[in-house]
């Protein structure tokens, strides 16, 4: 039962090394350039050489990609001016070169220490993602860590063609503590990790269709999922948005009255909640499929 390192525990650089073809990663704005945040420096907070996001060119299965990996440990992976500009530039480069772009998201959203600059940067990156999509250049978000994709980065992830998640990943906008503050501890206890993951975790997102692949917490499996999705793009036509509108309306009507994620699981075909809770990746997906 020994296995490789868990993807969700790896650092951004380790993840990149584990995902891409050996030796194929070519970092852009590499650490020796020392492009660090003046905001953090002024506030007396340690800076980082990559400002919390490692970007570059690489290959997966021989196929060229642009790749970004956020560093969740550094200020929660939050997006500041430099961090955000690196992301915007990367997606713009992807559009220019017609090369797919993959972003490994691990971020709470905007970096508060840099105020509105990070917020605008996220909006700019969204525009750049849609530039890619207009050209049918695939964009892919990988959300596989506990920090997950929250706030503006949660929204940004939904702008990409596809999302790959694991059971560890979380996708949302408001974090658990904010919801608890808003609704009260009785309605939402942010320290109840099971509740938090049932609400925003990869499994529930996969069942609802917000994640396109649910895989094991393992670089090899994630690489395979990326490779599978890299060849496709999600269409943006009137027909497609109308279908999506109907689908989201149906979801709201069907589950909007319940607080209970188990009801969503059951509604989406999961029969044995306890067994499904322990299952991971494709095994979980299969359990839901069987129940349908």
């Amino acid at each position: 039962m020994t296995r490789g390192p868990l993807f969700h525990e790896q650092t951004a650089r380790q993840r990149i090394a584990a995902l891409v073809d050996p030796g194929s990663f070519d970092e852009l704005l590499a650490p020796p350039e020392r492009i660090t945040s003046p905001y953090l420096a002024q506030l007396g907070i340690p800076v980082s050489f990559d400002d919390g996001v490692v970007i570059g060119r690489a290959k997966i299965g021989g196929r060229k990609i642009y790749l970004a990996a956020q560093v969740g440990q550094f200020v929660g992976g939050a997006v500041g001016e430099i961090h955000g500009a690196k992301l915007t530039g990367l997606f713009k480069a992807a559009a220019r070169d017609r090369i797919p772009c993959v972003i490994i998201i691990e971020s709470g959203g905007v970096r508060l220490h840099e105020g509105s600059a990070g917020e605008i940067a996220i909006a700019e990156t969204m525009r750049a993602i849609f530039e890619c999509r207009a050209l049918k250049v695939p964009t892919l978000a990988v959300i596989c860590s506990d920090i997950g994709a929250y706030g503006g980065m949660g929204i940004l992830s939904t702008c990409c063609d596809f999302r790959v998640m694991t059971e560890h990943g979380r996708l949302g906008i408001s974090g658990p503590i904010v919801i608890e503050k808003w609704m009260g501890k009785k309605a939402y206890d942010s320290s109840n990790r099971a509740l938090v993951w049932k609400t925003s975790g990869g499994k529930t997102k996969y069942l609802l269709g917000d994640a396109d692949a649910l895989v094991h917490d393992d670089a090899g499996e994630i690489r395979d999922a990326i490779a599978r999705l890299l060849g496709k793009s999600s269409p943006m036509s009137l027909k497609a948005v109308k279908a999506r509108q109907a689908e989201l309306a149906k979801r709201l009507k069907r589950f909007g009255q319940t607080q209970d994620a188990d009801a969503v699981w059951k509604g989406m075909g999961v029969r044995d909640i306890e067994a499904a809770s322990l299952a991971s990746g494709p095994e979980f997906a299969a359990m839901a499929k069987r129940g349908k």
């Binding site: 039962m1 020994t2 296995r3 490789g4 390192p5 868990l6 525990e9 059971e167 320290s191 109840n192 990790r193 099971a194 938090v196 993951w197 809770s277 322990l278």
Partner: protein
């Protein structure tokens, strides 16, 4: 049958029970009447034993006791192993306690330190567990014991479930000296799964309005184990477990030893150590042992207490764990401590502070904790006579004199050189030596494990073999050599370290065949609680605070 010439104690007990009168129906007291009953059965000057160790607590009875006023309860000599509830502190604040004799004050360590400063903590001594239990038979025999059980039947027989813990050690001396045994139980049933305490030794029973407090004390989330702890675990496995062929052992509750448990089925297996080490354990049912048990490393486990969530797993593994006729888990703190004292090759545990002589303590001026079971197991049992490979091997290194035993137990302290917040573990002098603390304890500094008993210190820097040191100066140099970049470590002399390393007294990771680069969490057999549940085939039910699925 002989008749006692004088039976004052027995008469006194009868009087006390008479005073209870209609507040009890037979042995059974309703929860609402407990405070009144306590008032009537306890007398000023009593030695009162309150059951409660670091896991299980007679918390309902403790709370009721704390609800009384000083006029109802005073001049009490309190004996108990662990001061862990706010109610315990209340007894002191209300001035009810004339003297206290105890072992440990984990969660209330800060409150106890405050009481000491306020001179409201009249302490006799801080004990080790078996030392205190022993005194229950000598000079601290309780007049009244307030205990906790899982179930009682209609006669007052008690079932203790997984957490037998220290109940027998309290009940026996009390019941056989005409003391009063008052039990709180979670429920009263017609038929018990098994009888752990016979009704004959129980005087009063109350069904508590809430289940007794049980602390999930030994649950260590593998997700919190660091690469550095994995490194230390690898060093310990090679430099101690493998070297001495450790067959029987006790592990502390820390993450360091949890890492070792989780390395057995992976790294240990790779080293070919399965079947050669770690077969017999005196340890609580640690969830982190599940992978090793499932992989067939473990022959037997005896425990001082249960662990929340391990009930189904232990019941399903009766070949490994001690279980009752009913099939469920059994523990016994006094016997477990005894087993850990005499029966094992090695004790390995952690501490907050270690001084240059190898003395360790978890006490600081602002936090008076005391000892758990560590000193009973982390010491050299002078009464030991049976040899094992490990015992003889360490003994030979210690170069015993003509008046010493030929063997030694391995007593290993495994610590990182810094605690969290960059607080150094290694110090020139223990905080426990503070004059104010010594004064409160009648001149005795609360040392957990004495340096003379310690055979090895393991840190991320390496191993110091204290048993093989030939002088105090050498021992100090060996400790400094593995104390890293703490002030104690920075005082080491390079020449000394090199000389000790040459003689094998100090060993760095590479000296025992461990490459720090290899030290990675990915070597752990399970990297999170969910992994443990998967290993257990769904038989482990972790407490809710550990569940994120």
């Amino acid at each position: 049958m002989a008749t006692a010439k004088s039976a004052l104690r027995r008469e006194n007990k009868a009087k006390r029970l008479q005073r209870v009168g209609k507040l009890a129906r037979g042995k059974f007291v309703s929860a609402a009447n407990v405070a009144q009953v306590l008032k009537r059965v306890i007398e000023p000057g009593d030695i009162l034993c309150l059951e409660g160790d670091n896991q299980k607590q007679a918390d309902f009875l403790a709370n009721q006791l704390a609800s009384l006023d000083r006029k109802d309860l005073s001049d009490i000599h309190l004996v108990m192993s662990c001061i862990t509830l706010p109610a315990h502190i209340q007894l002191f604040k209300k001035g009810m306690i004339r003297q206290v004799d105890f072992c440990y004050a984990g969660p209330q360590g800060t409150a106890v330190a405050d009481l000491v400063k306020a001179k409201k903590f009249p302490v006799g001594a801080i004990h080790t567990y078996n030392e205190l239990y022993a005194r229950y038979y000598i000079d601290l025999t309780p007049r009244v014991a307030l205990i906790a059980a899982a179930q009682a039947d209609r006669k007052g027989n008690l079932f203790l479930a997984a957490n037998t813990e220290e109940t027998p050690a309290i009940v026996e001396p009390t019941a056989f000296s005409d003391g009063i045994v008052f039990a709180q139980v979670n429920e009263i049933v017609d038929k018990l799964p098994r009888i752990d305490i016979p009704a004959d030794q129980v005087d009063l029973v109350v069904q508590a309005p809430y289940p007794m407090h049980l602390q999930a004390l030994f649950t260590r989330d593998p997700a919190a184990i660091t690469d550095v702890q994995v490194l230390m675990a690898m060093v310990a496995l090679r430099g101690i477990y493998e070297k001495y062929g450790v067959q029987s052992l006790n592990h502390g509750v820390g993450f360091n030893t949890a890492a070792i448990e989780l390395l057995l089925p992976t790294y240990g297996e790779r080293l070919g150590l399965k079947g050669k080490i770690c077969k017999y354990w005196m340890v609580n049912p640690l969830p982190t042992m599940i992978p090793a048990i499932e992989s067939g490393w473990v022959e037997s486990v005896f425990a001082v207490g249960g662990e929340v969530g391990m009930e189904r797993y232990t019941a399903a593994h009766s070949d490994v764990f001690f279980t009752g006729r009913d099939g469920s888990f059994h523990s016994n703190r006094a016997m477990g401590q005894l087993a850990g004292h005499y029966g094992i090759d090695m004790f390995i545990g952690a501490s907050l502070q270690i001084d240059i002589n190898g003395n360790s303590s978890t006490v600081s001026k602002n936090r008076i904790t005391g000892f758990g079971g560590a000193p009973n197991m982390g010491c050299q049992p002078a009464g030991r006579r049976h040899p094992t490979e490990s015992w003889l091997k360490v003994g030979a290194e210690a170069n015993p004199g003509p008046g010493s035993p030929p063997g030694r137990k391995l007593v290993v302290q495994m610590v990182e050189t810094f605690q969290s917040g960059r607080v150094p573990t290694f110090v020139e002098e223990l905080d426990a030596q503070d004059p104010s603390i010594r004064k409160a304890l009648h001149g005795v500094a609360p040392v957990m494990i004495y340096g003379d008993d310690v055979t090895h210190v393991v840190t991320e820097e390496g191993i110091a073999n204290l048993a093989a040191c030939r002088s105090i100066a050498e021992r100090q140099a060996a400790i400094r050599s593995v104390a890293g970049y703490t002030p104690v470590g920075l005082k080491r002399r390079k020449r000394d370290t090199e000389e000790l390393r040459r003689r094998g007294i100090v060993q760095f990771p590479e000296d025992v065949g461990v490459s720090p680069r290899e030290a990675s969490r990915s070597l752990l057999a399970a990297q999170d609680i969910k992994g443990l549940v998967r290993w257990s085939n769904g038989l482990y039910d972790p407490p809710p605070q550990f569940v994120d699925w």
